[in-house]
């Protein structure tokens, strides 16, 4: 009952092609956005904003980026963190070297830098597939981080290779409190997420999916795999790059190239697998899950076994449970958390009166 689309007629093409064609979705989205834009800034503590919500949003954006590449275009990548690094260092250098550079423009330019690098490292995908490609993207991961450490120009000749983000200032308004930083991050993420949602159901998105499902067949029906694959790499890297720039500007403030290491790439991959491959919603759910789970485990262990466990054992147990839960989730729901939501929607169509 709650989720019944019966009685909602579409009288025009425009109505038929809305992002959210069902009224409940539109209302739901509006409510969620209202909560996150209005209620959360009013009630959330600094801890929740800075330590949880901002990173979850940023990682969601990176996960959307990887999801575009892996979930929609079918190209496995293990270099997402490196593309984030390109975005962060790109935005930093634009802000640094061009006087009066508006932050939003720097953000976009950082993303574009990342897109360019992404296309360069995406070229091998024209010939290489599957795990061979995945391992090849590791070349991007290691090379980019190495280059950022090695060439002092990128970090403005800082003795240790770290950059510290400049103040974020949009039209004379400084974003310096946690709440403002959160709102800025949220706004960027929401806009880009809606854009992604739209993109994947456009011609481009359909081309990606055709290539993902079978590239030879896609080629036969007139889709140019090169264009589809490279555009996926470009868009995906753009998203990762913007996420990286936000990571530096609204989250950490000061970043070092090694922060964008292979572990982070794996983490982003985890987010889309746990959240749901080929789902924008899944990217958010996965990011929240992967960020929150270790924190939850740490807090949980501390409150349950406070002091009664040798210190090292506690941390190792967290690791064991984390690994175990990931395997467990993959076994019980290999299609990810987003799939649970789809199932729930089906149920809600009849609930609470199933008969």
């Amino acid at each position: 009952m709650l989720y019944r689309e019966a009685g909602q007629f579409k009288a025009s093409y425009k109505e038929d092609q809305q992002i959210f064609p069902i009224r409940q979705d539109r209302v739901g989205m509006a409510v969620i956005l209202a909560i996150f834009f209005l209620a959360v800034p009013m009630f959330a503590s600094e801890y929740w904003l800075q330590a949880i919500l901002i990173p979850v949003l940023i990682f969601s954006l990176a996960a959307i980026g990887l999801n575009i590449l892996t979930g929609y275009a079918g190209q496995l990548s293990l270099g997402s963190a490196a593309f984030m690094a390109v975005g962060a260092f790109g935005a930093y250098n634009f802000m640094l070297r061009i006087d009066g550079m508006p932050f939003i423009v720097a953000l976009i330019l950082g993303g574009l830098c990342s897109a360019l690098v992404g296309v360069a490292f995406g070229l091998p995908s024209l010939r290489i597939k599957g795990f061979y490609l995945a391992v090849a993207t590791l070349a991007a991961q290691f090379f980019i981080v190495w280059a950022l450490v090695k060439f002092p120009w990128f970090s403005n000749h800082s003795s240790s290779g770290v950059i510290s983000a400049q103040e974020v200032n949009i039209l004379g308004f400084a974003f310096d409190t946690p709440v403002l930083k959160y709102l800025l991050t949220l706004a960027v993420v929401v806009v880009l997420a809606l854009l992604a949602k739209n993109l994947v159901r456009s011609t481009t998105g359909r081309r990606w999916m055709a290539v993902r499902d079978m590239d030879v067949a896609a080629e036969v029906i007139g889709i140019r795999p090169m264009r589809a694959k490279l555009s996926a790499f470009a868009v995906s890297s753009f998203y990762c790059g913007v996420a990286g720039a936000l990571y530096a500007y609204t989250y950490l403030g000061t970043v070092e190239p090694e922060g964008f290491n292979l572990d982070l790439s794996f983490k982003i991959l985890f987010m889309i697998i746990i959240g749901g491959v080929g789902s924008i919603l899944g990217s958010f759910l996965g990011a929240a899950f992967i960020v929150l789970l270790p924190i939850f485990l740490n807090v949980f262990m501390h409150s349950v076994f406070a002091g009664s466990l040798p210190a090292g054992l506690g941390s190792n147990l967290e690791l064991i449970v984390f690994g175990g839960l990931i395997i467990f989730f993959l076994i019980v729901e290999p299609h990810g958390l987003a799939r649970l939501w789809t199932l729930a929607k089906d149920k809600l169509r009849l609930w609470p009166f199933p008969h």
């Binding site: 600094e46 801890y47 800075q50 330590a51 949880i52 990173p55 190495w146 450490v149 090695k150 403005n156 003795s159 240790s160 290779g161 770290v162 510290s164 400049q166 103040e167 989250y251 950490l252 403030g253 000061t254 970043v255 070092e256 190239p257 090694e258 922060g259 572990d263 960020v291 929150l292 270790p294 924190i295 939850f296 740490n298 807090v299 949980f300 501390h302 409150s303 040798p310 210190a311 090292g312 054992l313 506690g314 941390s315 190792n316 967290e318 690791l319 649970l340």
Partner: protein, 440 residues
């Protein structure tokens, strides 16, 4: 399934919100520790020593002037994002919030560098972190204490000088610098270039890619160049591999001088016999014979309460480094209490004052049972480093033996570089350095 999950999430939220410290006369210290991951063994010793020292102060003296020390660990896995979460989680615990943040990771240090100033929590980075933060006029909230990387590099060169028979003998000598190819390793370049120029030795920089478990190429290069000494600027598995590969390529180990992150039992033991003769710098020394360690043994371990799983590691280099962290934290609390009221919990701002006026002279160190254990130390508004000297220890195959007295760094040179770098940072960030002559 759903119900279970929401119950779990509910529990998590409850756990995050509950902070069960109501009683006064407590001083809370948040410990962003790491006990798993590649550096877990280092973290276990470091935080073990630190916790044991605080437990000892509680057991022996009943806290600092009656104020009990309380602490809570938060696992960071040496990961920046986790470190930030821990920082935020710990910052408001206890009656007066977190007293001091010491993440033992340069990456996390950078990630919270700007937050500590806003939250008014002093950050103490002993033997790591941002070197130019030693200029307290630009970085009032950050204390890279005891000895910074640059002082260490300079002290190592001074040590090589004495071994060579005088600083003037360094002219024309060749010194290799085998460094971890990361922000941490690159920290050595600026100062070593300056020193090479000043003393006229030739510097050969050799990079080792992370993690550094393969160094054949590097050591063959060293063998070809035949430097007179090699400075090992390593971390983690890189150190043991360096010593093994040096043995393999026939480079004499007593010509290798490690930094303090290369000179622990964790680095020497896995290298086996290859580590014999290896010399490393340290701002603390190994050994369980110091009164302060004995106090820990009798007040903590004799009561079956120690933090270390492996009791053998009590008195190891990293454990003792943890004790140094403990001593500095506790003494800062004591210093702050003397000004702001004995027997009270100190706030972050008061703690900062305590750190800035910390004065551990040789007499005080002897009273603490730590004479010769760490260098004497005096912090001021201008100088957040305090000591700038190291001792050198040599590995004899089973333990570290101290082979020198405290060796000073080239203070004017290092200080000049620190001020220059800090000024550049202040300019980039638009910070007006505070005027130290007006500080009390």
């Amino acid at each position: 399934m759903k119900l279970k999950k929401s119950a779990l999430i509910g529990a998590a939220i409850a756990g995050l919100l509950v902070s069960g410290y109501a009683a006064a006369q407590e001083q809370f210290i948040g410990l962003p520790s790491y006990r798993v991951g590649p550096y877990g063994s280092n973290g276990a010793s470091l935080y073990g020593g630190w916790i044991d020292y605080m437990a000892m102060v509680n057991a022996r003296d009943g806290g600092v002037n009656g104020v009990k020390l309380t602490w809570e660990e938060c696992e960071t896995e040496y990961n920046n994002a986790r470190g930030v979460e821990c920082y935020e989680r710990l910052k408001n615990k206890g009656p007066t919030g977190n007293s001091v943040f010491q993440p033992l990771s340069t990456g996390i240090t950078y990630s919270v560098l700007e937050k500590v100033e806003q939250d008014k929590i002093p950050m103490v980075t002993i033997g790591y972190g941002r070197t130019d933060a030693a200029d307290g006029s630009v970085f009032p909230w950050v204390f890279p204490m005891v000895t910074t990387y640059w002082s260490q590099a300079s002290a190592i060169v001074n040590y090589i000088g004495t071994k060579a028979g005088g600083m003037d003998k360094l002219k024309g000598k060749k010194i290799g610098l085998l460094y971890h190819d990361s922000a941490y390793g690159k920290e050595s370049h600026a100062i070593m270039d300056k020193l090479a120029e000043k003393h006229g030795f030739e510097l050969q920089k050799v990079a080792v890619a992370h993690p550094g478990n393969e160094q054949q190429a590097q050591w063959l290069q060293i063998r070809q160049q035949k430097p007179d000494y090699v400075i090992l600027w390593g971390w983690g598995v890189m150190n043991a591999t360096a010593l093994r590969t040096a043995a393999k390529t026939g480079y004499s180990r007593d010509k290798i001088i490690g930094v303090w992150w290369s000179g622990s039992e964790e680095d020497a033991i896995p290298a086996g016999d290859a580590a014999k003769g290896f010399v490393a710098a340290g701002f603390n020394v190994a050994g369980a014979n110091y009164p302060v360690i004995k106090d820990i043994q009798t007040n903590v371990y004799a009561k079956n309460a120690g933090n270390m799983e492996d009791k053998e590691r009590v008195g190891s280099v990293l454990y003792n480094r943890g004790v140094v962290h403990g001593i500095i934290t506790v003494e800062a609390i004591r210093t702050a209490q003397e000004k702001f009221g004995k027997g009270k919990s100190m706030t972050g701002e008061q703690m900062r004052w305590g750190f800035e006026h910390l004065n551990l002279d040789t007499k005080r160190l002897a009273a603490l049972g730590a004479a010769g254990f760490m260098p004497d130390l005096k912090i001021s508004c201008k100088d957040h480093e305090g000591a700038g000297k190291v001792k050198f220890q040599q590995w004899d195959g089973s333990k570290w033996n101290v082979v020198t007295d405290w060796i000073e760094a080239d203070k004017p040179l290092v200080r000049g570089m620190i001020e220059e770098s800090a000024a550049a940072y202040a300019k980039e960030k638009g910070i007006t350095p505070r005027d130290c002559s007006k500080e009390m």
